[in-house]
Symmetry: D2
Subunit: 156 residues, 4 copies
């Protein structure tokens, strides 16, 4: 198990910055990183009127849910892959985020997307050197289970 040193801290800080500041559609969604390690991540976003799909019930658009689960899974897949990269500065390592690509995604919608804010969490199911598989969950601020997902990501 790798020890957490200054470089690791710096790498995670760079990932956080890149994720929230340099990915345009993440900014459209308004996602922010709540917590981050090389094993898991939590991503948070607030309810906004323009994120709505069902205009009668005021629930989140299914596409908002799938987008947030996809980006959470991709983040976790990337962090897991970062671990096995030897050498390189934190900057060089995080630049590799651009190489991560979703192979496929499945989302199961469990309850209507209602709440003041939402938290997506992701964990690694399979950490390969070519392909990572992740599981994602979305809960609202009352801890109701809104959706789950699974994603396969190309990380090599």
């Amino acid at each position: 198990m790798p020890t957490m040193d200054r470089d690791d801290d710096e790498t995670l800080e760079l990932v956080r910055k890149m994720f929230t500041e340099r990915i345009p559609f993440n900014q459209v969604l308004g996602v922010e990183i709540d917590s981050l390690s090389f094993d898991d991540a939590r991503v948070r976003f607030g309810y906004r009127d323009d994120l709505v799909g069902n205009f009668v019930r005021g629930t989140l658009h299914g596409g908002v849910v799938s987008a947030v689960l996809d980006l959470t899974g991709g983040l976790v897949a990337f962090l897991s892959a970062l671990r096995s990269i030897e050498g390189g500065t934190p900057e060089e390592k995080t630049e590799r985020l651009a190489n991560v690509g979703t192979i496929d995604l499945r989302v199961d919608y469990l309850r209507p997307g209602l709440g003041q804010w939402f938290m997506a969490s992701g964990t690694i199911l399979r950490a390969g050197n070519k392909v990572a598989v992740t599981r994602m969950e979305l809960h609202n601020d009352e801890d109701q289970h809104i959706a789950v997902g699974t994603g396969a990501y190309l990380v090599g």
Copy 2:
């Protein structure tokens, strides 16, 4: 096979309006309906800088792709369900769009999301009175196959 009468035309026109004007996140994505019938639908959107996920390559965010495939599948599922509703004005029928919900969605990402504009198309695989299953495809303006998806929708 049902004949197309004035009510059908009016119903389709109302669906089109509802889809583009009353679903907030559809407006964020900038999707427009290219063609529409009770059997299939084509949804178009243009490339915009804020839809990007990969800031190095300038490709569409995976979440934009999944969102567009989800809404295209939902639209097709709804149109298919509309057919079996007997009675009611076009207004009453289209209000039922609010009852359609995604059960689950799978997206396969085939090529990087690059292009000036993109076209999503959806067709019905299974038209039940409770559950509809749809297949969706996304192509760019050069007719390259960007992604495919399958969705199950509660329509009853």
Copy 3:
């Protein structure tokens, strides 16, 4: 929350019997019920040479894994639906198993299917009166995580 009475015990016993004795392909796979309640189920099967897919490595055929996850999810979906059926004898209730159908299934293969025996477990993610969504896991006898799955089932 329903109380467990004699009828419930009898119903579970009938489900167990039906599952192992009356579903032909379950017998081909050699699956047996390890534990059963209205909330979850555990299904066990032993390694056999004719369940192999990869003849070089001797690992389980991917189709064996998907089949076992599908039947485990279907079992859990059915048990969950049984709860909401009011009236009827245990026999009448369990006959409804014939109405449960898989809408769709996703399987993620995490590790090669090696082991002396395997245990599949399933839990309910969404318990609707028309559609149930379940999550399934497969572990080997050393508790290694072989596969996960999600299924949507028509139960109404």
Copy 4:
């Protein structure tokens, strides 16, 4: 487009033999190759009582459907990967089948599995040097659409 030479013919013949004679669970299912090229494949199997899941209706077990779609997708993924292997005898090439592994699989069940025999077909959606994505369909002898699937396979 590669020319078909004697080696290609021999390679396809070896794949066919390996597929039907050396994969134990394929024999349990009774699958046979109907047609085979480097681009697509058709796999056929007959209805048998022990392949049944629903004992009231006599329909195929969902696990039989998922198993056949998985093996059809894996076959197509492997054939596609064979193309890019340079050098080596047909024997050496086909031995690589043992390296192909399913990453994940989605199956959508469209109609009850009834028929005298069934035909599964598979085509390549994404042919990468690490990951292949395939689409699969299952029809019965009356050409009714029983199920569709998508699979991601590790081929590198």
